[in-house]
Symmetry: C2
Subunit: 337 residues, 2 copies
Amino acid sequence: MAKKLGRQTVMFDRRIGIFAHAAVGGKYEGCGPIGRHFDIISNDPYFGESTWEKAESRMEKLCFNTLMKKAGLSACDIDVMLAGDLLNQCSGSAYALRASGIPHLGLYGACSTMAEALAVGAMIIDGGSADTVCALTGSHFCSAERQFRLPLEYGGQRPPASQWTVTAAGGIVMSTAPSMVDITLATIGIIHDTGLTDANSMGAAMAPAAYNTVKAHLAETGRPIEYYDAVFTGDLGALGHDIFEKLFTEDEIHLGPRYIDCGMLIYDPAAQDVHSGGSGCGCCASVLAAHIVPAMEKGIWKRVLFAATGALHSPTAILQGESIPAICHAVSLEAAE
Amino acid sequence: MAKKLGRQTVMFDRRIGIFAHAAVGGKYEGCGPIGRHFDIISNDPYFGESTWEKAESRMEKLCFNTLMKKAGLSACDIDVMLAGDLLNQCSGSAYALRASGIPHLGLYGACSTMAEALAVGAMIIDGGSADTVCALTGSHFCSAERQFRLPLEYGGQRPPASQWTVTAAGGIVMSTAPSMVDITLATIGIIHDTGLTDANSMGAAMAPAAYNTVKAHLAETGRPIEYYDAVFTGDLGALGHDIFEKLFTEDEIHLGPRYIDCGMLIYDPAAQDVHSGGSGCGCCASVLAAHIVPAMEKGIWKRVLFAATGALHSPTAILQGESIPAICHAVSLEAAE
């Protein structure tokens, strides 16, 4: 049985490990600082398909197939699939996985989807409802641009605070089988709406939600921030990163170099002009699969807090003058003893 | 610990009851056969708001507040909120619940969302990650029409196989506290794509998924269909109902009068011209909250299989020539001994 440590945090009883991980990215992501760690980089932004939405699904399917290959598993070994994405009706992941034959639970947490999937997967495994769960998500710059902003053909100008939707997919297999990295705790996010209405300034809208969740995590676990070798948010970008850091500084908690934002890590600010950084479901999912977990497996970090943020607005809501509700879910990743 | 009974079905160990239920509907739903059982019927389709999307959120918020009142609980008594809807980016439920202060997990199962939420909620409670979970979803005819089909102002003609998106919200509190109806088993759906591309014929696209899930449920539990006093699908409509029934007849399983479709129950076919029946996340959610659980509490049925279906396409995917992937999740509801 899992143990509740407070309003938001759950500590798991079974050992739930990250058994396998895979990341697929686009050419632009391949040129970034962690590009060489992706399992597959596609130079074709269409991934062989005829539309951006189909490309996104194909990329997620490729990620799933790569994940199964790396894990040495087949679809019938997966008890439950937890998947979602940013496309309307989560159609990216539904089409990617429609032929997988795996019991499927669709999630929607916007860019926080990977952390939500890890949390839900761990809760399900801990309770005995599943032994092996796959968490998968992704995003595509071109499908996101036309759905959330403007079709690429318009050549719209992006304001400085805007983030670049990452073309990438990340997948994780969670299981009770021995692994090098365990999911030990999850802190479920509470929706926080700062009242901001600028859909081109996501980092500012989401940073307070990330702060609330990480603060709740530290309070409910009794852990100081120093407990973690690295704390990742995903994806606040440069602007949100600074707000997040400032909010903790006001609490006299100094994050220091242990604090990294996935949206700032995936592109090279000197060579790739993405303004405030990367975003999209695929951003922190691929950083987790290509960078964080592999680094933990190599012993670089022993304890990592993975706190993924999501903006829960829709373009329609913004056009109707609504503000942006945000959420952040966090999971604690610890090197197996 | 939950016990896996097969690929898709999980049997719960803890007693997980339906502690409270609430349903809010529109005027048209209020005129239907179960209209008098709704907690609130609003004669104002805007629910006091200025847009259909805001109306949908307001209705869901009203349902949540009614649910808390009926349960004698406040938001701080709810450990986890499981919510989703059909609007792009699940914004209907996110805006409805953004001020609730409850740890929030967004789900996307289209019209199967309520069954998905019951299944996930029961798995989470059974594992000890939560004691009290709220499941909430809804849909609005007017927001769905303009998002999925045409704005109402166009006066578009609806083909005979089409279904009418229900303006309603349904909410359930699941808990380990003693209740009259327990959630004993859940069967997680596998996506099934029949290859159908007509988004005006959802029942036909979803019926095979419902058949697969109910068949798996019976096979994995070893229960004959007669075990259940009532089997509900939601929402196949008249067309999907007949396909579902026919598929079982081919297996020499005769469903008989125990089989009821939520989409056929919510409107009066003689007086309300909705063509094939009702649909939308709010359809089976409100039928569950206003009709099924109350009837079980009165002792009318002892054992009910609640099998909710969802079509996982998006309008964009259909315009790109894609077919409709469908899913069905089932939960077993049994009167507490």
